[in-house]
């Protein structure tokens, strides 16, 4: 018998929710809007669970499971269908997106209660879920691109949700355009795939690619494709140099930041690279670029995160930094480690953002941590759940972030996938920077924690601060149950979620890695083929030494997390005069970091201004000044001639029609003469 998973239901349900709320929502009560807005993604999650239970029972040869729905685009022999593709990788993504997505929808019911455009918000949020699920379930790159651009649209709409504010409208536009720059790379990557494989279906492409050797000798076709796809990923997953849109995206309502700009959409680039692992694994050069970009992004964003005072901006830079980890994991060909971190990060970063939202909610819209403090008494639920999230992201065992981050650090240290490009020095550099980032992460997260919840309240009378998320009441108050429920569930996941992937060195069996192994397998075969050419495989006898090394590295990463905590405690709890003094000592360096290294200003000077300048030049000087002037000049000249010839000013159209007729007649005569010759 054949099992039918009806995957099409999963994206279609949120789409139905979006359509209902979008078309009819204006006339519905808030309660009805909320039921529709939560009910449809909820049903999608429920069906995803059913799919998961049936998927694990599928016989091996039916994985990847594909489901054909409709024809879509066809030209010549090329064809891309609306069809779905489910393997272990998409299943993990599916559960994370629908699960975390549902919790954030529930939270939004409470959070958005006092905002206008309630139905619009849920319509957009459901629309986002639809596109995200299309992205995950697509069976070809082109359909994936539909989801890819679609989530960008949802993000644009939701960042600009408070469209009366110019800053929000600007941020939405910036996000869309910067992502388009990345999409440009994605498109070119697809064009190369079409040119060489005449298909964009994952199955076809990966099958064709499996006959290609690893490009150890130098850059070849697969390197070019991989690098172009990676450009797309740097846009969506906010990596250097295209990360600039994500901090500004915090203009959107906080649940949006949690869902789209932390837990799900921004991980699409990671998913795309992991999905394309048969391509990337055959190009050590592309892998190296990915690893280096990820690593640099991780530490770069972490340094900025240390200096921000807006609670959401700290979390935004933290997200960029953590995405850098995931990028780096993919770059060292540890795709499952990257996806593992993607999952745990989805739990704890969604939690952290929702907690931040709860804090902002409690303070009637205040986002500046300098005007917070001592809130652990007033909002205990928020405090305790945020504590779980903070310890999880800082990498304290046995919380979720510890296992996933450690896995990445270990793979960065030990991988041989990049050997044909660089020696072990690259491994050690990647590892050192990543370790440093872990310490910075711990520091800025506990800085946030201490500033928000400890000390005394610095906010004064909490008057509405003009933020979009303005709320009605005045003294700090705990959020309603509908917001706290998701916090508690996410806190539980942040604590225990990492246990799915306990490494062998710590006595686990790394079930997560094993589960994803079939997706990565084909490429790891290619890898080992490449390795045979390069280095010998580690002997069984060496495994013991390797385990010790792994344990030592684990100790180091826990150590830096503790050091980060210690510094944060010293600076923001014990000796609160220190930050000002350190700032004074650092002077310009501190200002540069706080002002985000002036990258926005640089981009403005390098791109925006010249492009606008060139455009104006094209318009005023070329279009009007040269082209049109020439045309009109010719017209006037001929008019003068005709005037002087005919000494009369007839209606323009008629006189010229006469000229045309004359000209045509001359041509006719000439042509007839030619033909008669």
């Amino acid at each position: 018998m054949t099992t039918n998973l009806h995957l099409w239901l999963i994206p279609l349900l949120p789409l139905a929710g979006a359509a209902l709320n979008g078309l009819l929502g204006r006339g519905l009560s808030k309660r009805a809007v909320a039921i529709i807005g939560v009910g449809f993604p909820g049903a999608a999650f429920a069906w995803a669970l059913v799919v998961a239970s049936r998927f694990v029972a599928l016989p091996f040869e039916r994985i990847p499971y594909t489901e054909y729905i409709l024809p879509w685009i066809a030209a010549g022999s090329f064809q891309a269908n609306i069809a779905f593709y489910l393997d272990q990788l998409s299943l993990v993504m599916l559960l994370v997106v629908t699960g975390v997505g549902l919790l954030i929808h529930v939270y939004s019911v409470g959070y958005m209660e006092h905002e206008g455009g309630y139905y619009r918000f849920f319509a957009y949020l459901n629309l986002f879920m639809f596109f995200m699920l299309m992205l995950i379930l697509a069976d070809n790159y082109l359909l994936m691109f539909v989801g890819w651009e679609g989530v960008g649209l949802a993000s644009y709409l939701l960042i600009g949700f408070f469209f009366l504010k110019q800053s929000a409208a600007n941020a939405g536009k910036k996000a869309f355009i910067v992502n388009r720059v990345g999409d440009f790379g994605f498109l070119l990557g697809m064009f190369l795939l079409i040119r060489h494989f005449d298909s964009l279906n994952f199955a076809d492409v990966f099958k064709a690619v499996s006959h290609y050797p690893v490009e150890t000798a130098g850059a070849g076709l697969l390197t070019a494709i991989s690098l172009l796809l990676m450009v797309g990923a740097t846009g969506k997953s906010a990596q250097l140099p295209l990360y600039v849109w994500l901090p500004d995206a915090m203009e959107g309502p906080t649940p949006v930041s949690a869902l789209i700009h932390a837990a799900t959409m921004v991980t699409a680039g990671i998913y795309m690279i992991a999905r394309s692992n048969p391509l990337f694994s055959r190009s050590p050069i592309a892998l190296t670029v990915v690893a280096v970009i990820g690593c640099l992004t991780a530490i770069f964003a972490a340094t900025i995160g240390m200096t921000q005072t807006d609670i959401k901006r700290v979390l935004a830079y933290s997200t960029i930094s953590q995405l850098g980890y995931m990028f780096m994991a993919c770059g060292v060909a540890a795709y499952s480690a990257g996806i593992f971190h993607l999952m745990t990060h989805a739990f704890f970063k969604a939690l952290l953002f929702l907690c931040a939202g709860s804090v902002i909610h409690a303070l009637s819209g205040e986002q500046d941590m300098r005007r917070m403090g001592g809130l652990r008494k007033q909002i205990p639920w928020t405090f305790w759940t945020m504590t779980a999230g903070t310890f999880a992201i800082a990498g304290f065992p046995p919380l979720a972030g510890f296992f996933s981050k450690d896995e990445i650090l270990w793979k960065a240290w030990s991988t041989t996938a990049l050997r044909s490009v660089a020696g072990p020095a690259l491994n050690y550099t990647l590892w050192t920077l990543a370790l440093l980032t872990a310490g910075l992460t711990s520091f800025y997260m506990f800085r946030l924690w201490f500033l928000t919840f400890f000390g005394e309240f610095r906010g004064g009378s909490a008057d509405a601060h003009g933020h979009g998320d303005a709320h009605a009441s005045h003294s700090p108050h705990e959020s309603p149950g509908i917001m706290l429920g998701p916090l508690v569930l996410l806190a539980i996941l942040s604590v225990f979620g990492g246990w799915a992937g306990v490494p062998h060195a710590l006595g686990g069996s790394n079930r997560f890695d094993q589960f994803l192994a079939p997706v990565i397998q084909s490429s790891s075969e290619a890898m080992s083929a490449g390795q045979r050419a390069g280095e010998p495989q580690p002997e069984a006898a060496e495994e013991h030494a390797e385990r010790n090394a792994e344990l030592a590295l684990t100790a180091a990463s826990v150590g830096v997390a503790a050091i980060g905590f210690g510094f944060a405690w010293l600076f923001y709890f014990k000796r609160r005069d220190l930050p000002a003094r350190v700032t004074a000592v650092l002077g310009g360096i501190y200002d540069t970091v706080r002002d985000k290294y002036y990258v926005d200003e640089l981009y403005h000077a390098l791109f925006v201004r010249p492009i606008v300048g060139i455009s104006n030049f094209f318009w005023r000087d070329i279009d009007v000044g040269v082209i049109d002037a020439t045309v009109n000049g010719a017209a006037h000249a001929s008019q003068d001639v005709s005037d002087s010839l005919r000494r009369m000013q007839s209606g323009n159209i008629r006189s010229y029609a006469g000229w045309i007729a004359t000209g045509a007649a001359l041509v006719i005569v000439y042509m007839i003469w030619l033909g008669a010759r």
């Binding site: 030209a75 064009f191 318009w619 009109n632 323009n652 000209g663």
Partner: protein, 509 residues
Amino acid sequence: MLNLGAINASILTLVTFLPAIGALVLAVFPRKVIAERWFALGISLVNFIFSLHLLRSDIPTQLSTATVFQFEIDIPWITSPNIHYHLGVDGISVWLVILTTFLVPLSILVSWHSVSHRVKEFYVLILLLETAMIGVFLALDMFLFYVFWEATLIPMALLIGIWGHERRIYASVKFFLYTAIASVFMLGAIIWLYSHFHTFDFATIKQALQTNPSEISWMASFWLFLGFFIAFAVKVPLWPLHTWLPDAHVEAPTAGSVLLAGVLLKMGTYGLLRFNVGLFPDQARFNGPWIMTLAIVGVIYGALVAMVQPNLKKLIAYSSVSHLGFVVLGIFSLTTFGMDGAVFQMLNHGVSTGALFMLAGMLYERRHTYEIKNYGGLATPMPLYATFFLVITLSSIGLPLLNGFVGEFLILAGAFQAKALWGALAATGVIWSACYMLWMYQRVFYGAVTDDHNAHLPDIDARERLALWPTVIAALIMGLAPWWWLARIDSGVLKLLPTLKTITQVIGR
């Protein structure tokens, strides 16, 4: 009682001339007897329904030797010179005819209140224009083609010149002269062909050129190619022959802009495909590089100039230069991808730019200005209008699942196959279009209302919604199920250029 055979034999004549008959009736009857608007709307709607009958044609597979054209009618018209009344439809022209019959009722709807003087003449001209436009797409006799081609000029020039805005005379004359002068080159080429082959019949000449390419010298075919090319390139308009377009659009009444952008520009790209590529494939290949270069310049230049336009209609006009650059690029990539995409993009541009001009017109009716700086924050007083505008904006910038994406993607993939650099350069267009459209959208709709005149603008009414819904639905369906269009287009393109790779027609698994 008509049977299907009789319908099939006369359907093209009917679709072509029904609007002209309507125009005649409208012109002859006294004003009081007929409500002009309702009559014109009715005629154009009936014609739209008739034109759908063309979809009952077969989709020829690559193996079938059946004639390319269907519903053909071929009657000698003038014996000397040998001119035939010869019409026929293939997988390319069928969609352009339907695009025309689709846009005419909509442009009548948006003129409902905005045209208040010489109402009868206005609708007479619109209907005459419809006949001429459809004739261009269906004519298979080159002389007939030329007659229809020139016949589109007069109603359009009058529409701009009589019902346009302040500088309407200047714009009208410029439009007329520019395109009429360019057409002379095509006339020359057609007459040369007649003098050589003693027929104006497209299929006969194509057949002769195909079976015996050395029939005419290389130099002669070069000049013939160029003759057609100049006429079509001005119409498209291809950079740098485009400067008549912004003036014509800004001054034209809404219906004029819709039909100008929606259909008349497509006559240029249709001609490039049918004549330049169809008759002279070798010349198309030889001249492709410089034409594609001009097309890419148009894509980027049009987008950049659009970005800094202070006038909404000019912005849309320059965006047309950019979009039509894509179409020309696809045509001269001479790949199935590019040419399929080009035809599809012609339809997209008709739908989305047509809709954009309708939307701009609705704003003009309320505020009597196209200056973007006079707007701002319109999403608050006009939420429904803002939503329609957003969907069309997204269609125009090629968001997947809307129509624009499919065309752009296929064209770029085709250009990339022809030469990677071309595809890459033109693909920057996806960035530029997002820049100019979203920036414009933000300036018109987002933020607080800054001008008191805009604070209480009425949102769109039922008639306006009726005009906009079809475009939104078309944009959505064409994005969701483009294969339905592409299957026919693919067959038409393949018959046009049989040297293209053989294709699989089976849609599905």
